[in-house]
Point group: C2
Chain length 196, copies 2
DNA sequence: TATAAGTGAACGAATATTCATTTATATTTG
DNA sequence: CAAATATAAATGAATATTCGTTCACTTATA
């Protein structure tokens, strides 16, 4: 039997995200994507059941990449400060290395695909994160708050900075570039908020 | 001459956001919207130049609503703690009262429309916010950090909580409902982070 | 009566998806 | 070892819809 061209598979994914980021949901049409990736439209239907399935599978792929990057060198038993710091570094690295993938994920988050995607969320990842927080709370390294409150304070500021960085400007018209110093400065504030 | 039916204008806006939130960019087609709003497709082109223009104008309208709500009772000369508290209350109220409008705005934020929209951003609003922070920094009520860092720590956690509230669940599968108590709890942490 | 609001049908272009065929290769056969 | 075969990958053209937009026309009112 004929073997599947793995290279082709990767090209499709890459071009799909590229099209999506550049032209949004409207721009990601099966025919345009096929042309862009140099394959027949019919080929897409070998890889994916339909357009919706393609978008969800694309999300799963990107999510895995994100989880892998985020967990690099991480252990839920780490001390709170060290663990959170590593999380920030890993997450920031992912954002900088894969801006289009991040863009794609953020756009999915508020789209009708959000529900279908979050069902495919890696449970192990969430559990690892949860374990880390609970360890820290138990050791009294972190104020005792619901996980949602913790997560909001711990990571939302970072993603907000990344958002500004990606759009190239801050709140006003001035240019904004997220550098190591700004990350550290913000991290210190977050740490202050979460320590008992 | 014949007068424009203001009621019709409002129905179109309402149905447009409804369609957009329910079915995303793909779902907001001119013909579907016309049918939904009970007007001719051609009528839409009296109100808007084309589909892109409609989406941007829709955003401008929603943004104004958001700014108005956020500024209710606010004065940039307020003390930091009182001002920030009011901001949280106003913003939370907007999110709860107009969930679809918030949904719409968030989706635009990561779409190709983001740039066109942010050009129409109300400068006065941004200036008022900026003035408030700078007053607070001058009075030494807030740590001296770039506005972007301030904004990220001050508001991103709130919007993250709202996001979870709107999706109906937190990080795990458990139900999550954002209540007054959770808001206050998070607010206290943010305040701790930002105070010198 | 002048004028802008509002219409419904129509346009070509683009959409998602399918299907009868062809192509490449892993495996089996002689 | 080489040739035949089986099988999944890959295709390009065609499907019926739906898309955004326009235009000749009617309607309501200042």
């Amino acid at each position: 039997m004929r073997t599947r061209d793995e290279n082709k598979e990767e090209t499709i994914r890459q071009k799909a995200i590229e099209l999506f980021v550049k032209h949004g949901f409207d721009g990601l049409s099966m025919q345009k994507l096929a042309k862009e990736a140099g394959v027949s439209p019919a080929t897409l239907y070998i890889y994916y059941k339909d357009r919706d399935d393609m978008i969800v599978q694309l999300w799963v792929w990107v999510m895995k990449k994100m989880v892998d990057t985020t967990l690099e060198g991480f252990d839920p038993g780490m001390s709170f400060e060290a663990g959170l710091k590593l999380q920030w570094q890993n997450r920031a690295r992912f954002c900088m290395e894969y801006p289009m993938e991040l863009h794609f994920m953020e756009q999915i988050k508020y789209s009708p695909y959000h529900e279908a995607c979050s069902k495919k969320m890696d449970a192990k990842f969430i559990n690892t994160m949860g374990e880390f927080v609970h360890n820290a709370i138990r050791r009294k390294e972190v104020v005792k708050v619901p996980v949602e409150v913790y997560w909001s304070v711990a990571f939302a500021p970072l993603y907000q900075l990344v958002k500004m960085h990606m759009s190239g400007r801050g709140l006003r018209d001035e240019k904004f570039v997220l550098d190591e110093k700004t990350i550290n400065q913000t991290f210190k504030l977050v740490l202050k908020a979460l320590k008992p």
